[in-house]
Amino acid sequence: MRIGIVCPYSWDVPGGVQFHIRDLAEHLIEVGHHVSVLAPADDDTPLPPYAVSAGRAVPVPYNGSVARLNFGFLSAARVRRWLHDGRFDVIHIHEPASPSLGLLACWAAQGPIVATFHTSNPRSRAMVAAYPILQPALEKISARIAVSEYARRTLVEHLGGDAVVIPNGVDVGFFAAAEPNPEWQGGTIGFIGRIDEPRKGLPTLMKALPKILAERPDTRLLVAGRGDQREAVEDLPERMRDRVEFLGMVSDQDKARLLRSVDLYAAPNTGGESFGIILVEAMSAGAPVLASDLDAFRQVLDHGAAGELFPVEDADALAASAVRLLGDQERLAGLRSLGSRHVRRFDWSAVGAEILSVYETVTAGAASVAADERTGFRARFGLARE
């Protein structure tokens, strides 16, 4: 099958959606399909052989943060050329409802279009205003995929229609096979995420730490992620600061090793998550998970069967659960084995097959993808079909 994938965000900036697209493309190539990824990238960024640059993305303030987006005639022309040269059986657009390359591709293409909705943003005013413009483009999508039941619900509320739920994929084998690092073992709690992004929840964990240390003074907290380290430990009493180790940005390999090593993985996020891939990665590496009770997390953890949940932003509850778990080796071992069994459905072999099922369902009985050449006036005034 010839598959075209459109990446909405800059290829050179690391991010969940970009990693998802990279892994999906590589998985599909591995099982013998032809894949081309169209992504915004500077012309001098090194791209993998399957990726095509759609030109430089322009940083624009959008929806409360700075988004790097593609628009304008040059990008539109590149999208058309890519569609024309690719002769795809199906194109797969990511995040079509944000003002991005995905939306451009949706405008410019016709034929079987699959779209994945990753985020579950609350309805923005821009989206309400653009709705009449957005709707004709979104109408062309033959199949919608949401990454979680939560994302699907937001999609249905905001845009109407329906979607199938297919979770994000993880290379389970990669995490399961990582070598534990002895330096990171022995009463350790792991945290991975941007330090200066409050929604990742590090402040909650810092508030809980003194209570955890009071009960179990040997505990160490390992933090991997970008951000200001001094600011992060500011509220912690001086003598406890050496119990926190900052590892900075870590490579994929080190991330896997960290997750293999820790006794407990904490995910105290306060919101803004539509899936929670990090929990799946932690469970793949056999780390017991203690996560805040967000809709998305609850679903990934099978309603608390595959990992423990605590009320969002409740530092006391987090501390109590952590102390109880760290002292209960049997429960930790139970969570490890439950987790590794549970994550099999998130492995690329399972997720890739689901996505291919969608491709095959929409291509059955449809023509291939082409650039949308607007039909002539006579044909249009002949009005719709008889």
Partner: protein, 186 residues
């Protein structure tokens, strides 16, 4: 005699309205084509599911009672007229759930030659039917929303195309043939 500028404005307005109507008609046409493709895909998946079920029923692997139930409902689903189709297909879903309620049935089926392939095909088709149905009903919803538009109704842009109908059925797969069931949950 109105001034020339007024005539130009009126002409421009008429052209703009014409362009809008033409564009909307194009949108509607595309939506109808999408419904046709989605309906064809749904038909294909339903037929595939009924065929696998019928194959299973005649294979002699299942006990006679299960074979009869499955054969009857698969046959009815394949032969159903359009009006009875939704009911017949729902009954096939129920029959599949009843036959595959016990883990032993799946294990026994996997042990016979060619069994694992059949289980694979059935697992795939009970997953793809709800998928295809969701895509079909989503396209129907989009077309209905546009057809309720005033411009579409007043200018009869939909022509003689019938008002699209969604396909409603019970498409719940047997738990043992889903990711949750296969992992031993629930």
């Amino acid at each position: 005699m109105p001034p020339v500028t007024t005539i130009i404005w009126v002409a421009a307005a008429i052209v703009a309205i014409g362009l809008y109507l033409s564009w909307t008609a194009g949108r509607l046409d595309r939506l109808h084509a999408r419904i046709d493709a989605a309906r064809a895909a749904l038909d294909a998946q339903l037929l595939r599911r009924a065929s696998v079920a019928q194959e299973l029923a005649t294979s002699g692997v299942l006990d006679p009672a299960a074979s009869m139930v499955l054969f009857q409902s698969a046959h009815a689903a394949r032969q159903a007229e359009d009006e009875q189709r939704e009911v017949a297909e729902s009954e096939l879903s129920q029959a599949l759930r009843a036959v595959f309620a016990e883990p032993d049935t799946v294990t026994a089926l996997r042990e016979v030659p060619g069994g694992p392939q059949t289980v694979g095909e059935l697992t795939q088709s009970v997953r793809r039917v709800p998928m295809a149905r969701r895509f079909h009903n989503d396209s129907v919803r989009a077309a209905r929303a546009l057809r309720r538009h005033r411009a579409v109704r007043w200018f009869r842009l939909a022509g003689h195309a019938p008002f699209p109908a969604s396909f409603e059925m019970d498409d719940e797969p047997p738990v043992l043939l889903t990711a949750d069931g296969a992992a031993g949950h629930r």
